[in-house]
């Protein structure tokens, strides 16, 4: 009898963990739906500048990225420290941009082409010379809708 009393009276009853998988699954689905897989392997360092008048880029499928910055440490040996352009997964020169634009245009529906946006992800330390060259090439390729990728901030400092 005393044995029986001890069992029901003392000790903390175990927490029911039957709902734990449900909770975890819920979190899992949330992350599965919101996740965007990283598309390219960045070979250059890009720290975006800050701006106040920013717009959100909608319709990610219509956005193509052009990266400009200095190569990451492990590539300095072979590519140096000068600013470079990266398209998709590889280093490129400004002469590759027209072909890149044409390729991107071909992979979309003809009706979507006027809405294609070219996002320039440029390191804030980069010089305008290379950025201007890229812009000129984009104009030549008739890719006119561009977006300077920036972070949002509330105030601009001198």
């Amino acid at each position: 009898m005393s044995k029986f009393r001890k069992k029901s009276g003392g000790g903390i009853p175990a927490v029911n963990t039957a709902a734990l998988p449900d909770i975890v699954f819920m979190l899992l689905f949330f992350f599965m739906v919101t996740t965007v897989m990283r598309e390219v392997d960045l070979k250059i360092d890009v720290t975006r500048p800050k701006a106040t008048e920013v717009n959100k880029l909608e319709k990610k499928s219509l956005v193509s990225y052009i990266y400009i910055g200095s190569p990451k440490d492990k590539f300095i040996g072979s590519y140096g420290t000068a600013d470079r352009i990266q398209l998709n997964d590889a280093f490129a020169t400004k002469r590759d941009i027209i072909a890149f634009v044409e390729g991107e245009k071909e992979s979309h529906d003809p009706q979507e082409i006027p809405y294609l946006t070219w996002s320039l992800k440029v390191d804030k330390e980069a010089k305008m010379g290379i950025v201007t060259d890229v812009k000129q090439e984009l104009r030549k390729a008739n890719a006119l809708k561009i977006n300077y990728s920036t972070y949002k901030t509330d105030i601009i400092v001198d």
Binding site: F31, T35, P49, T52, L57, K124, L144
Partner: protein, 203 residues
Amino acid sequence: MARRASPEINAGSMADIAFLLLIFFLVTTTMDVDTGLTRKLPPMPETDLPEDNKQIKERNIFQVLVNANNDLLVEGERMLVSKLREEAKEFIIGDPTFQDESMPEGVLTEVPILGNVMVSKQIVSLQNDRGTSYEMYIKVQNELVGAYNDIREEYAQRKFGKSISQLEDEIKMSSATAKKQLKAVKKFYPQRISEAEPKNVGE
């Protein structure tokens, strides 16, 4: 014969499996939202067309220069980026009677809702050096775009009692008046930021 109870599957490790997947997605996910300044590049001029001889009067141009040392020169005077927005706003709004010689001229333009009104011929000219840093360029661009946005915002509030974002929301709900109002604001203060080819000096 007694019915044999079907053996229950042990679901104890279900949580572990779900955790594993969860951690995978937690690690691979990137939460950053893509934001940036959206601009439109001018189309390439057709080479066989004769050079445009139309000269723009000096009073209609708001000249912004940035050199290789990231110094800002506005209308011939050195300036800090933080002062640029106010200065640009003053120029873009201009003189409502268009009599002031130092402010831009007006031109009769048809604007929705407002009808034929005098609209300023203002144009902002931005020129940078090839050695200008991208950060500085974005700051200047941001202030110029911001000047236009501020002016439009104030005008929309004064004229229609609504903010630009309110108008945009109404357009999403397919309101024809809101669309016309936004068009009127944009036409009354057209965004004209002209970028000259960069010079290559002082590198």
